[in-house]
C-alpha cells in the first residue's frame, strides 16, 4: 500500500511537471494555400474582426474585389486576434502554410514579408497618396517596403465639455503645453464627486516624452546608446512633469485606474461615466463617444514650448508573405484592398479612417469638429521608437518599470529621479545589447 501510494504520487508529480513544458509548446497548424482551378487563382487572406471592419464588411469587400477581378478568388479566413498571432507565428516560423496576404502586425514577422519595391516601381504605384508619416513609419523595414498601410489610428486627448463647463474652465486648444495640461487637470478635478482631471499615463516614452525634445527617448535612434537619452535633461523634465501630475490630486488612484479603466485601450469607461474630464484615447473611442451622445472635444496631446509635436499613431500593415505562390495576384489584391478603392469601401461601409488623405477627407462627418481635430493630429510627427524594430525592444523599456512604479506610488522624491535614471542606464544598455543579438536584420 505504502509503496504503491508513493508510486502513484510520484507519477502524478512527474505528469504535472511535464505539463509545465506544455505551457511552452505551441501547436503547429498548416493551411493549404494552392488551389488552382483552370486559370482562376485562389488567394489565402487572413484577417480579423475589428471595429473598423467587421466580418460582414470584409466579406462584402471580397465580393466587390472578385466582381472586378474574375480570375482571382479570395479565401478569407477570419481569426480571433490572439489566434491570428499564434497561427501567423507558427506558419511563418515553419515556412509553410502561410497566407498570401495578411496583417503583419508583429515586428518579428517583418523579415518574412515580400519586398514590394519591385512591384511598386514596375507599376508606378503612387505611394505618395498615403499620409507621409504612416508610409515612412509603418511600411519600411531594413531598407525595403514590406507592406501597405491600411487605415489610421492615433492617440488623442478627448475632453468632456460638460465637466469643463461645470468647472468654468476653458477648453484646451491644440497649442497647449504639458504645464497647461497639468493646471487644467487640477482645475476641472472634483475629488469630492469622484471626478478627476485626467488619467495616469500607462507608460513613458510616448508622444508627451518626445515632445520634451529629441533626446527624451529610451535610446538613440540607431538603437545603440542608452546613456544621454534615457537620462537626458529632456527625459528628466518629462519624468518631473509626470511626478507633478501624480502628486497633483487630479488623477484617480493607481488602484482605481487599474480596476475602473479598460484594459490596454485607455480609460474609456471612466470617460464615458463622466468621471474623467480629459482622457488620452483613440479614434475608435471617439466614435463610441459620438454614438453615446457625449458632449466632447478632441485635441492633440500637449506639447513643450516650440518643440516638434509628436503623435502616437498606428496603421495596420498589410503584407504579402514571401512564401506566396501567387505574388502577382497577391499584389493585385493588396494594391486594390489597401489602395483608394478598398479603403473607401471600408470607410463607407465600416468605420475605417483611411490612410489616404484624399479619401479620408470624404469621410461622412468630415465637417464635424472631432473629425477635423483627428485628421489634423495625423500630420504631427509620429513616435517611431521601434522603427527598424527588434523583437526584444520592449525589454529595454521594462528596465525602467520600477522607477515608473515608484513615481506612481510616491516612494521616490522628485530630486531622486535623476539618480535613479543614471542608475538604470547600465542595466538598460546591457538589455539593449542583449536584445540586439536577436535583431532581425
Amino acid at each position: 500500500m505504502k509503496r504503491e501510494t508513493r508510486k502513484i504520487v510520484m507519477a502524478l508529480a512527474i505528469l504535472l511537471c511535464m505539463s509545465t513544458f506544455l505551457f511552452a509548446a505551441g501547436q503547429k497548424e498548416t493551411v493549404a494555400t494552392d488551389a488552382k482551378k483552370a486559370e482562376v487563382v485562389t488567394l489565402e487572406w487572413w484577417t480579423w474582426n475589428s471595429e473598423e471592419y467587421d466580418e460582414a464588411v470584409q466579406r462584402s469587400l471580397v465580393k466587390e474585389f472578385e466582381a472586378s477581378h474574375p480570375n482571382i478568388k479570395i479565401n478569407m479566413t477570419l481569426l480571433p486576434t490572439k489566434g491570428f498571432e499564434t497561427k501567423m507565428t507558427t506558419a511563418l516560423g515553419a515556412g509553410v502554410g502561410g497566407p498570401d496576404v495578411a496583417f503583419f502586425s508583429i515586428s518579428s514577422w517583418f523579415p518574412k514579408a515580400l519586398d514590394l519595391g519591385p512591384y511598386i516601381e514596375r507599376d508606378t504605384f503612387d505611394t505618395g497618396m498615403y499620409y507621409e508619416g504612416f508610409w515612412d513609419t509603418k511600411t519600411q523595414f531594413n531598407g525595403t517596403t514590406i507592406g501597405l498601410p491600411l487605415g489610421v489610428g492615433a492617440s488623442l486627448v478627448m475632453y468632456n465639455k460638460d465637466l469643463f463647463d461645470a468647472a468654468g474652465v476653458a477648453y484646451p486648444t491644440s497649442d497647449w503645453t504639458t504645464q497647461e495640461y497639468l493646471e487644467i487637470a487640477k482645475k476641472v478635478a472634483n475629488p469630492a464627486k469622484k471626478i478627476w482631471g485626467c488619467e495616469i499615463l500607462t507608460r513613458p516614452f510616448r508622444a508627451i516624452w518626445y515632445n520634451y525634445g529629441p533626446n527624451a527617448r529610451l535610446y538613440s535612434m540607431d538603437s545603440t546608446t542608452v546613456d544621454g537619452y534615457l537620462n537626458s535633461p529632456e527625459s528628466l523634465s518629462a519624468y518631473g512633469w509626470f511626478y507633478d501630475l501624480m502628486r497633483s490630486g487630479a488623477t484617480p488612484s493607481v488602484s482605481d485606474m487599474s480596476t475602473l479603466s479598460t484594459e490596454n485601450t485607455g480609460p474609456i469607461d471612466l470617460f464615458m461615466a463622466d468621471r474623467l474630464a480629459m482622457a488620452t484615447l483613440n479614434q475608435g473611442h471617439m466614435l463610441d463617444a459620438v454614438r453615446a451622445g457625449k458632449n466632447f472635444g478632441v485635441v492633440r496631446e500637449p506639447g513643450v514650448g516650440n518643440n516638434q509635436r509628436h503623435v502616437n499613431a498606428w496603421s495596420m500593415l498589410v503584407s504579402i508573405w514571401e512564401g506566396t505562390k501567387h505574388p502577382e495576384e497577391a499584389w493585385t489584391f493588396l494594391k486594390w484592398y489597401v489602395g483608394p478603392e478598398g479603403q473607401k469601401f471600408l470607410m463607407d461601409n465600416g468605420n475605417l479612417f483611411p490612410s489616404i488623405e484624399t479619401v479620408a477627407v470624404q469621410y461622412k462627418d468630415a465637417d464635424k469638429d472631432y473629425v477635423k481635430g483627428f485628421l489634423e493630429i495625423l500630420n504631427d510627427k509620429q513616435v517611431a521608437i521601434w522603427r527598424g524594430s527588434h523583437p526584444s525592444g520592449t525589454k529595454v523599456e521594462a528596465t525602467i518599470k520600477d522607477l515608473w512604479d515608484m513615481i506612481k506610488l510616491g516612494t521616490i522624491k522628485k530630486s531622486e529621479i535623476k539618480r535613479e535614471l543614471d542608475k538604470l542606464v547600465p542595466r538598460a544598455q546591457e538589455t539593449l545589447d542583449e536584445a540586439k543579438k536577436t535583431l532581425l536584420y
Binding site: C17, T20, T259, S392, M406
Partner: protein, 305 residues
C-alpha cells in the same frame, strides 16, 4: 519477475496486445504533445531562437547569463519562492479544516460539499477579476467592511508590501477542491479506531492528533506535492491583476518566462528558464518524498503503532 514472451500463453499475448492497443491513443498523444516538446525544449535551451529564424547553437550561454547576469531571474525566483511559502500552508491548513467541517454528519451536508467545491471549477481569470474587485482599496467589499469597524484597509494588490500576501490569500479560493481530497482521506480512516479512542477516554483534540492527523498523512503527502507544484506554476493572478508589480513584488517565474518567450520572442532563453523551473520542482518533490519516511503514516505501518 517477468516471464519471457515465448513462455506466455496465446491468451496472455492477446491480452497484452489489447492492452497496448488500448493505451495507444494516450501513448500517441504523450509522444506528440509531451515527449517531443520536452526534447525540443531541452534543445532550444542551448540556442538563441526567435521562432522566425533557425535556432543558433550557443551552448551554455543562456544558463550562464541566467545565473550570472540576470537580476530578473533572481527576482522571479524570490517572488515565486515567497508565494509558495505563503500559499502552501494556507491551502493545506484551511483545506484540512474545511474537510473536517465537511465530514460532520449534519443535514444537507452534500449541499455544502457542492457549494465549497464550486470555486474549484471556475476559471482562474474569472477568479482573478473577482478578487480584484473584492480587494479594491477604495470601493472593494473587504476594505468597506474593515472601514465599518474603524480599520483603514491596505491597498492590497497595489501596495508593494501587501501585493504578494494578497495574491497568496487568493489560494483560499482553492481550498474547496483540496478539501474534497482530504474528505476522501478522512472517510478512509477505520471508524473502529475512533470507537477505541472513545472507549479509552480520548478527547476530540487528542483523537485528532493521534488518529485523524497521522492517518491523514498519506493524503497530506499527496496534496503537499500537488499543491506545491501548482504554487510554483502561479501565473494567472500576476498576469491578470498585478502584471508582476508593484515594484516586481509579484513578478513570478512563469510570468517572466511568458514575457521572454511570448512577448520578447527570446524563445531559446525562455526554454532554459522553464527547464530550470522543472529541475527546481523535481528537486523539491524529491525532497518532500525523501522526508516522507519520517512523517507519513500508513495503516498497519510500524510507525503508526
Amino acid at each position: 519477475m517477468r516471464r519471457p514472451w515465448k513462455n506466455r500463453s496465446q491468451a496472455e499475448v492477446k491480452e497484452a496486445i489489447c492492452g497496448y492497443i488500448s493505451i495507444s491513443p494516450w501513448l500517441f498523444g504523450f509522444v506528440i504533445l509531451t515527449f517531443i516538446p520536452i526534447l525540443s525544449t531541452i534543445y532550444y535551451s542551448f540556442t538563441r531562437w526567435t521562432i522566425m529564424d533557425a535556432p543558433v547553437w550557443i551552448g551554455m550561454e543562456n544558463y550562464v547569463r541566467m545565473f550570472t547576469n540576470d537580476p530578473l531571474f533572481y527576482q522571479a525566483i524570490k517572488a515565486t519562492g515567497l508565494y509558495v511559502a505563503m500559499s502552501l500552508p494556507i491551502v493545506i491548513v484551511f483545506g484540512v479544516l474545511l474537510s473536517l467541517l465537511l465530514n460532520m454528519k449534519i443535514k444537507g451536508m452534500n449541499f455544502y460539499r457542492t457549494l465549497f467545491y464550486i470555486p474549484a471549477v471556475i476559471s482562474g481569470v474569472s477568479i482573478a477579476m473577482l478578487w480584484t474587485w473584492l480587494l479594491q482599496p477604495d470601493v472593494g467589499i473587504v476594505n468597506t467592511l474593515l472601514a465599518l469597524v474603524g480599520i483603514e484597509g491596505p491597498k492590497w494588490f497595489w501596495d508593494p508590501k501587501w501585493a504578494l500576501p494578497s495574491v497568496a490569500s487568493m489560494s483560499l479560493w482553492k481550498v474547496g477542491g483540496s478539501a474534497v481530497i482530504y474528505l476522501a482521506g478522512l472517510q478512509n480512516i477505520p471508524p473502529q479506531l475512533y470507537e477505541a479512542a472513545k472507549i479509552d477516554g480520548a478527547g476530540k483534540v487528542r483523537t485528532f492528533f493521534t488518529i485523524t492527523l497521522p492517518l491523514l498523512t498519506p493524503t497530506l503527502f499527496f496534496q503537499l506535492i500537488i499543491q506545491m507544484i501548482e504554487a510554483f506554476k502561479v501565473f494567472t493572478e500576476a498576469f491578470v491583476i498585478t502584471k508582476g508589480g508593484p515594484l516586481k513584488a509579484t513578478y513570478f517565474y512563469l510570468l517572466y518566462f511568458y514575457e521572454e518567450g511570448f512577448q520578447h520572442f527570446n524563445t531559446g532563453y525562455a526554454s532554459a528558464l522553464i527547464l530550470v523551473l522543472v529541475v527546481v520542482i523535481m528537486s523539491m518533490t524529491m525532497l518532500v518524498n525523501y522526508t516522507s519516511n519520517r512523517w507519513v503514516y500508513y495503516e498497519g505501518d510500524e510507525k503508526a503503532k
